[in-house]
Amino acid sequence: MTEKLKNLLHDRAAAVDFAVPDVDALTRAGDRRRRRRSAAVVAGGAAVLVAVGGAVVLPQLLGGDGSPEPAGAPAPTPALTWASGQTLYGPDLPGGKVALQHDVRAYVRTSAGFVLADSDGTVWSLVDGTETRVGTTDAKAPHLVSDTQGTLAGWLDASGDKPAYVVLDQATGDTTTYDNQPAGASDPSGPGSSPYFYAIDGHTAYWRDARGAVATDLDTRQATVVDSPAGSDLDITAAKGGLVAFNGENGTSIGTSPADAVHLKGSFGGPGAFSPDGHWFTEDADEPKVWDDTTGERVKLDLEYNFASGYGWLDDHTLLVLGQDGWQDKLAIVQCHVPAGDCSPAQTGLGSFHQLDQEGFALPVGSRMGQ
């Protein structure tokens, strides 16, 4: 073919001249965006395709001009956001906030947008300014998972005859439902075998079935047992690039299986998050903790808060920490550079825990605060 098509493209492209852009103007505009960003920073079963509907149009969420930031080093969907009541806040959101049509009990982000659960247990997908109802999950204890660098998010839907795992692809809007019991597996008995959606890593989902914690290839539906028996919701706390954070008696270990996992020194276990490149791991604790996954060694952070906990990542080397000086003091989001360890406020004056709890405060970690 395409020789003519290729020739046409090259001929047409060569026929137009463009002046070299004004570099000073570009850097001034780029600097403004950086300041705005940092100011904000201050600030195997059967599948069933489920039709989506009920679109609600919202303001554009992505990028300074509304277009998505390219993936790669920076995430296309703003990483620094929080929700309170029916509002999603974030320095990279237009006007710094977006009014939603419902409250937010828990939410996550993907490279394509946000997935939110409201107090009725309804799950919403927010992509390109359009909010769409995509499913149902536990209203009391909503739990969403996502791959922040991919387009998939997931949750457990227990509203039907039997619980099922649901995976949403925000690139297409399609949801796929997976039975939680593998063919031939014995019936679950006891709390240890209750279904739980641990994490999504690329096109691999980690959840629990009667065999324990399994990794399921979402394309082929092949499941591999990675931890058996698994009995706690925190057996697996995160996954990234094939690495899994396993939660055991001695805290968290990182590896492809519990047998080869590197123990994180000083970890007590708990929900955590990998950096986008998988090199670092942070864990929810009363003090911010971050480790080098390759060695299990902790990184020292220069941070002075009476309470602080790492909860997510701005990019490969920037940890997001929720901090508070005193119980009555207002919360702040702090960014800490890893491994340098220097920290600076990203967003201050969020309100006290009590106040935020009353209003319904959520960070993009997939669960209710304190859940």
């Binding site: 570099v23 509304g66 390219p70 080093a73 690139a171």
Partner: protein
């Protein structure tokens, strides 16, 4: 101490600007050409590249491998173009059930055919056109195209296939213009 820090930051900022200026000078022409093929409008292509380069400079400190700056900018151009077209509904305006008229007798055949192919290409939805430009102008592999468009390889295949099918339908039996075999491309350095 604080003064040292300030001086260090100023030096870092000056170095960033110098690196970025060098990148813009070296690659902006190529980036403009690709943008022009995606949007089909010179002025819009300039706006698009300016927006993409602004994003690139804003992300410069986080682009740990500066060799990836062009890939980052190309991705910004593509995703921004798709976003602009989607928001402004241009894809609906330009994507067409009514293809441009065939070249009429009396035209210089080659020029007429080229013009007609260009019009048919510009009538494709922006995603299909972007996929074709990335594959057949930029010579990106399917995987590289998928990375640039922020989608799956399967989506690239389907977008390219759908775009070429439309062109073939509109161009009729001109096998030379649009042969049915699939092109294999390799990345070339320009």
């Amino acid at each position: 101490m604080a003064r040292d820090k300030t001086q260090t930051k100023a030096r870092e900022r000056a170095q960033e600007r110098a690196e970025f200026a060098e990148f813009v000078t070296a690659r902006s022409a190529a980036l403009h050409r690709a943008a022009y093929l995606i949007v089909g409008d010179r002025s819009l292509a300039q706006d698009l590249v300016q927006e993409a380069l602004t994003k690139t400079y804003a992300a410069w400190p986080r682009l740990h491998d500066k060799g990836n700056a062009e890939a980052y900018t190309r991705k910004a151009i593509t995703t921004t173009a798709i976003s602009w077209f989607r928001r402004k509904g241009w894809s609906h305006e330009r994507s067409t059930a009514d293809p441009p008229d065939r070249p009429t007798a009396g035209h210089d055949d080659q020029v007429a055919q080229s013009t007609w192919l260009w019009e048919c290409l510009m009538a494709l939805p922006v995603r299909q056109r972007a996929a074709i430009v990335l594959r057949y102008y930029e010579d990106l592999t399917e995987a590289q195209t998928a990375e640039t468009m922020g989608c799956a390889v399967g989506t690239v295949k389907s977008q390219v296939s759908a775009g070429l099918d439309k062109l073939r339908r509109q161009l009729g039996d001109d096998a030379d213009l649009l042969p049915l075999d699939t092109l294999t491309t390799g990345r070339v350095t320009r």
